[in-house]
């Protein structure tokens, strides 16, 4: 089997079989992480560089640990993500890293499509660690791993996603990936943060947060950036928390064994009351381990493809 493409640019580019292969591989990798000796030799003698044009703590650390647990040499580059940063210099930077013999470049960039614009010009494999509002495939894969550990198949499951849908690359990647595996995704958020035509991506737009969460098998809250208030996408935190947050009452509408996810970092008291964040149904902290496992699986499978060519 293995992956078809040299790069992981998004869930759009993956087949259902490839998604399942990554998830199955990640389950194995999770055993490595939870074992006493977190060391494999899958990436021995290989190099992984993270190139981040946007700040991120957890995604970057998660990739870095994933590559180190598998024995690779890794380096991290933080570049300025100013809005005038030109793609030409992005390509120049990427080519330089490529020429140094890098096997995999893990890249985050504030512009949608930035990794796509360099991937076919490089020898290295490119892993998209988040591009603008487009995709964040390894986040979706870790969310899906979290679900996969709790239900054996995705078909017919209802996944509720609430919050700022418009700006969220996590939603796009999850919606695409979950739809490919036959799950039903329901989304809800302020209409000012609901992108036109989202239903064409195979999701259902709910009428209310209650409607969205009702009978869901899994519930996901999304981070609301408080800057959005200034651009009139919602009037106040109080109003957001009242009409759009996943409260304990709302969460009760989900199936009894449903669980709550959040890609983090969470604004306590805005999209989730702290009581919900910490409740029994919350798997938010457990997800972090899955992040490392999924990234190990992705790096492993991409490297296997490189080795076989």
């Amino acid at each position: 089997m293995g992956l078809k493409s040299k790069d992981l640019l998004g869930m759009k580019q993956l087949t259902p079989e490839e998604i399942m292969e990554i998830l199955d591989t990640a389950k194995t990798m999770k055993m490595v992480i939870t074992s006493g000796n977190k060391k494999t030799s899958h990436l021995q003698g290989k190099s992984v560089v993270t190139l981040f044009y946007e700040n991120s703590t957890r995604t970057r650390l998660s990739f870095e640990l994933a590559s180190k647990y598998m024995g690779s040499t890794s380096a991290n580059i933080s570049a300025s993500g100013s809005s005038v940063a030109k793609g030409e210099s992005l390509l120049d930077t990427a080519r330089t890293i490529d020429m140094m013999g890098t096997d995999i470049i893990v890249m985050r960039h504030p512009q949608s499509g930035a990794p796509h614009s360099i991937a076919d010009k490089l020898n290295a494999s490119v892993v998209n660690a988040g591009d603008g509002m487009n995709e964040h495939p390894t986040q979706a894969l870790l969310d899906m791993l979290t679900m996969y550990e709790r239900f054996d198949k995705f078909e017919g499951k209802k996944i509720a996603i609430c919050g700022d849908i418009y700006h969220s690359r996590v939603v796009r990647s999850n919606a695409i990936g979950l739809a490919k595996l036959g799950a039903n995704v329901s989304v809800y958020g302020p209409r000012t943060m609901m992108p036109i035509g989202i239903e064409k991506m195979g999701v259902t737009i709910a009428d209310s947060v209650e409607d969205c969460v009702r009978d869901a098998d899994a519930v996901m809250g999304l981070r609301v950036q408080l800057e959005r208030m200034k651009s009139s996408l919602f009037p106040s935190v109080a109003e957001y928390a009242k009409f759009y947050a996943i409260t304990p009452e709302v969460l009760k509408l989900a199936k009894p064994d449903a669980f709550l996810m959040h890609p983090g970092p969470c604004n306590h008291g805005v999209e989730l009351p702290t009581a919900v964040y910490d409740c029994d149904q919350s798997v938010i902290n457990k997800q972090v381990t899955n992040g490392v496992a999924v990234r190990m699986a992705v790096l492993y499978l991409l490297m296997a493809r490189r080795n076989n060519l």
Partner: protein, 417 residues
């Protein structure tokens, strides 16, 4: 200088020979006294085409295009007259810049260049540019293309003041308060995470300008219409007798926003490529006469401005060298419109709207003409373009209607080799 074109195929005429004397179409004369006899081998001879919306980038952005390369591209496209938009640097908002462009264009001598002046000083929407003085210097219209006229109040003043000088107003329609995106807002922009430019942004401004034109009784010309809704309003306004005219571009009837899926910046322009529904509406509006002109919005850019992330890339594509072939291949060849109709769109109507007096092929008219090969397919290749810009979405397209020869005032300005 006496020239004869032999074995011509003309539209609406059985004549097979064209006589040119001292730059004008002439009565038949003896082949023996001709300085040159050109055998066009049964190819189709049309009046030289007119493009009322191009960007030649000079002065100021000569690294993208200049008057010489833009003129050469126009000639290669079969154009003998073009109107250049004022968003140069400095902006063409005063008589000195107008004169400079005309002088340079005359020196180049490959196409008739009619400058368009800015409506507002520095393309801003607060102070009127010197429209009267620019008219004396040679402008044929005014426009703030590239920087939409932001308020109804300023648009009203522009329409009123320019009407004193009988100068047409051409407007780029975009409400920037609901448009901060890089492509059409819709299912594709949502899927690939690019901020959108809604059709409403264009339609709101088209509505505003129709309302002002009707209220004031002053003509308005709507630039590069891309939306179904905009065309519907223009159709209704025309039926009511409002003096509104409009143009569209070949990319709006050949491409849709689906082409942006791979973040290829050669599909990025303003207005953006719309949906299939809009594309079909553009074709319908071309057919039923709602659209008056087809223009290129020729917008050359350097690769440094285009080989960047999609949202950062500058807007626009080159068009002069592909326009006729696209129109012929996608409109005339499939029988959507006749060649006569295409000539209205690409020659007579723009000439009439701007009172250029072009398009005639009668004795005494300037010998502006273009010869096209309508029978043989050719591959449009970006590396063969004479424009400095390489930003075309049509590289590799198989088309009909390659330009064989272009003459302006009886002088060869392009010849296929």
């Amino acid at each position: 200088m006496k020239t004869i074109l032999k074995n011509c195929k003309l539209v609406n005429s059985d004549k097979t020979e064209i006589y040119i004397e001292d730059g004008k179409f002439a009565d038949k004369f003896d082949e023996k006294i001709a300085d040159e006899v050109i055998d066009v081998n049964g190819r189709t001879v049309l009046p030289g085409l007119v493009d009322m919306h191009v960007h030649f980038r000079e002065p100021g952005y000569e690294y993208k295009e200049n008057i010489a390369t833009g003129s050469a591209a126009a000639a290669r496209g079969g154009f003998t007259s073009v109107c250049t938009m004022p968003n140069t640097n400095p902006v063409c908002d005063n008589a000195a810049v107008v004169s400079g462009i005309i002088k340079k264009a005359n020196e180049v001598g490959l196409v008739r260049v009619y400058p368009i002046g800015a409506a507002g000083k520095n393309l801003e929407s607060n102070e009127l540019a010197e429209i009267g003085l620019m008219k004396e210097a040679g402008i044929v219209a005014i426009s703030n293309d590239g920087k939409p006229i932001a308020t109804s109040g300023f648009m009203r003043k522009v329409l009123e003041y320019s009407s004193d000088f009988d100068i047409p107003v051409l407007n780029h329609e975009e409400d920037l308060t609901i448009s901060d995106g890089a492509m059409n807002e819709g299912e594709v922009s949502t899927s690939i995470g690019i901020r959108g430019v809604p059709t409403a942004s264009e339609d709101i401004m088209i509505a505003r300008d129709i309302i002002l034109s009707e209220y004031l009784g002053i003509p308005v010309h709507i630039c590069h219409v891309s939306t179904k809704g905009g065309l519907r309003m223009i159709r209704e306004a025309k039926a009511r007798g409002v003096k509104v005219t409009c143009e569209t571009c070949p990319h709006y009837f050949t491409l849709t926003d689906k082409s942006c899926e791979n973040y290829d910046t050669n599909f990025k322009m303003h207005p953006p490529l719309r949906t299939e529904e809009d594309r079909l509406a553009v074709i319908e509006a071309i057919k039923d006469g709602t659209v008056d002109c087809i223009v290129t919005d020729h917008a050359p850019h350097h690769q440094d401005d285009k080989e960047v992330e999609f949202s950062h890339a500058l807007n626009g594509i080159v068009g002069l060298e592909s326009s006729f072939a696209l129109c012929y291949t996608y409109l005339v060849k499939p029988g959507i419109i006749t060649m006569e109709k295409l000539l209205e769109l690409m020659c007579y109507n723009p000439s009439n709207i701007l009172k250029l007096g072009r398009g005639g092929m009668n004795v005494g008219d300037d010998a502006d003409l273009a010869v096209f090969d309508l029978d043989n397919e050719f591959v449009f290749e970006k590396d063969k373009m004479l424009s400095k810009g390489r930003n075309t979405p049509f590289d590799g397209w198989k088309l009909y209607g390659q330009t064989v020869l272009t003459m302006m005032g009886g002088k060869k300005t392009y010849e296929l080799r």
